[in-house]
C-alpha cells in the first residue's frame, strides 16, 4: 500500500486533533471560561474607567498567548501520552505534514477563542468599533494567529522531544512570540481607535504580522521533522 500524499496527511492529522478537542472539550470548557473570567476580573480590578479600553487589546492578546501555549501543550501531550508520537515516526508519517495539520488545528481553535474574547471585550468594556476598523481587526487577528500558532507548534515540537529541553523553551519562544503580541495589540488599538489612534496607523503592523506568519510557518514545516526526530 502506498503512503498517502502530503495534503491528505495534513487533513488526517488536522481532523484527528479537532475530534480529540471535541471529545475532551479543553477549549470550550476550560480555556474559554478561563479567558472570559479573566476579562471580568480585570475589568473589575480597574473598575470601568478609561484604562479598560486602553488595555483591552493588550489583554486580549495576552490571553491569546497563554491559551495558545496551553492548547498546543495539550495537543502534544496527547501525542506523547501513550507513545503515539513514536508510532507516528515509525509509521514514517511526513513530519512537515504533521506540523501543518497540528498548526491548522491550533489556528482554528485560537480563532474561535479570539472571536469570543474580542466580542467579550467589546461588549464588556464598551468599546465601539468603527466599520473601517473591522477589516483591519479581522485581517491582523488572523495573520497574528497564524504566526502565533506556528511559533507555538514549533515550540511544542521541541518540547515534546527529549526531556530537559522544555525547561529552556519558554525562554526561547516568548521573546520570539512577543513581536506578534505587540503587533497584534497595536493593530487592534488602531482599529478600536484606542487613545485617538487612527486606522491607517494599523496597516503597517498587518505587514509585520504577515511576514512573521509566513517566515515561521515555513521555517516550522522545515524544522519540525528534525526537531521531533532528534
Amino acid at each position: 500500500m502506498s503512503s498517502p500524499h502530503r495534503g491528505r496527511v495534513v487533513q488526517i492529522v488536522f481532523s484527528k486533533d479537532l475530534r480529540i478537542e471535541r471529545r475532551s472539550k479543553v477549549l470550550t470548557s476550560q480555556i474559554m471560561p478561563f479567558a472570559v473570567v479573566t476579562l471580568v476580573l480585570f475589568a473589575f480590578a480597574l473598575d470601568g474607567d478609561v484604562i479598560l479600553q486602553r488595555t483591552a487589546p493588550g489583554l486580549v492578546w495576552l490571553a491569546m498567548l497563554f491559551s495558545s501555549m496551553i492548547i498546543v501543550q495539550r495537543s502534544f501531550a496527547v501525542e506523547t501520552a501513550d507513545g503515539a508520537l513514536d508510532a507516528l515516526r515509525v509509521a514514517g508519517a511526513d513530519m512537515s505534514a504533521v506540523f501543518w495539520g497540528k498548526w491548522l488545528a491550533l489556528v482554528v481553535q485560537l480563532l474561535v477563542l479570539e472571536f469570543v474574547l474580542l466580542v467579550g471585550a467589546i461588549v464588556m468594556y464598551g468599546i465601539e468599533l468603527r466599520l473601517s476598523g473591522v477589516v483591519l481587526l479581522v485581517t491582523s487577528s488572523i495573520s497574528a494567529t497564524c504566526g502565533l500558532s506556528a511559533v507555538s507548534t514549533i515550540y511544542a515540537g521541541l518540547a515534546s522531544g527529549v526531556r530537559g529541553r522544555e525547561s529552556l523553551l519558554p525562554l526561547l519562544v516568548l521573546p520570539v512570540a512577543s513581536p506578534v503580541l505587540i503587533g497584534a495589540t497595536r493593530a487592534a488599538e488602531a482599529s478600536f481607535g484606542t487613545g485617538g489612534t487612527v486606522v491607517s496607523e494599523g496597516w503597517p503592523w498587518l505587514g509585520v504580522l504577515s511576514v512573521f506568519a509566513v517566515v515561521f510557518g515555513f521555517g516550522g514545516s522545515l524544522a519540525f521533522g528534525p526537531l521531533i526526530d532528534d
Binding site: 502506498s2 488526517i12 507513545g83 513514536d86 515509525v90 526531556r163
Partner: protein, 217 residues
C-alpha cells in the same frame, strides 16, 4: 539468500541520557527469521528494538535495517518496519474504530483491511465504538496489534507482544506472525515468557548488559 539481511548491527552503542543501554552490540538477522530477544530486565531489549525502528540513534557503530542505513536512511527504514512497543500508541479520547481509521489512513490502508484486522483481534462488535480510555489492558494491546496488522511491515518489531493478552489473543498473535513470516516478513520480538516464545521463534538471542551474550536456535 542474495538480498541484504533484515538487520545488521556492528558495535552498536545507544545512549539513553548518557547511559549506554546498548554497549557495542553486534547482531545479524536474516529475512524470514523469527528472532526472540531474551535477557534480564534492563538488558537492552527495548533499546535494541527502538534502534532497529530508527527511534533511538546510534552513538557509535553502524546499522543496516532492511538494506538501508538507520542513521542516514531513516525514512526508508521506517517505510519497512512496524512496531508494538511497551506503550500502545493509542489516542485515549478516540474510539477503537477511530484509532484504527487514523493509523490506517495514515499508512494508506483500505477500509476492508482495517475491518479485517479488527475482527482478527476480536475488536469488532461492542468494543469498536468504545473510547480507548475505557478499554482493559489487554483490549488496548489488542488494538495496538490490529494497527500493526494493517501496517503490513517487512520487519516486525515486538516488545513483549504477549504481555497482557489472554490465551486466545496470544494464539491469534502467534498465528498472525507465522503468516507474516510465511509471506516473507521478518520478526524480532522480546519476551520473558520463554517457553511460549520458544515455540514460536526460529532463533533465540540473549542480551545482557547491552550486548549479545547468547545466540542459538
Amino acid at each position: 539468500m542474495g538480498e541484504s539481511p533484515a538487520v545488521a548491527l556492528q558495535d552498536a552503542v545507544a545512549l539513553i541520557s548518557d547511559f549506554p543501554a546498548l554497549a557495542g552490540l553486534n547482531l545479524n538477522v536474516d529475512r524470514g527469521e523469527i528472532v526472540m530477544l531474551t535477557g534480564p530486565n534492563g538488558a537492552g531489549k527495548t533499546t535494541l528494538l527502538r534502534v532497529c525502528a530508527g527511534l533511538t540513534p546510534l552513538a557509535r557503530g553502524h546499522g543496516l535495517v532492511m538494506g538501508s542505513d538507520i542513521t542516514t536512511g531513516r525514512e526508508e527504514v521506517r517505510r519497512r518496519v512496524g512496531m508494538v512497543a511497551h506503550s500502545n500508541g493509542l489516542y485515549d479520547e478516540l474510539t477503537v474504530r477511530e484509532n484504527l481509521d487514523f493509523w490506517g489512513s495514515l499508512i494508506g490502508a483500505g477500509d476492508d483491511e482495517v475491518h479485517q484486522a479488527m475482527s482478527m483481534m476480536g475488536l469488532d462488535g461492542r468494543l469498536s465504538s468504545v473510547s480507548v480510555r475505557g478499554l482493559s489492558a489487554g483490549q488496548r494491546r489488542r488494538t495496538a496489534f490490529a494497527i500493526l496488522v494493517v501496517r503490513r511491515a517487512g520487519l516486525w518489531l515486538l516488545d513483549e507482544p504477549h504481555a497482557g493478552l489472554d490465551s486466545s489473543a496470544r494464539d491469534e498473535v502467534d498465528e498472525i506472525l507465522k503468516q507474516a513470516v510465511a509471506s516473507g516478513a521478518t520478526v524480532m520480538l522480546s519476551s520473558h515468557e520463554l517457553d511460549r516464545a520458544q515455540k514460536l521463534a526460529t532463533r533465540e538471542v540473549r542480551l545482557a548488559g547491552g550486548v549479545v551474550v547468547g545466540d542459538g536456535q
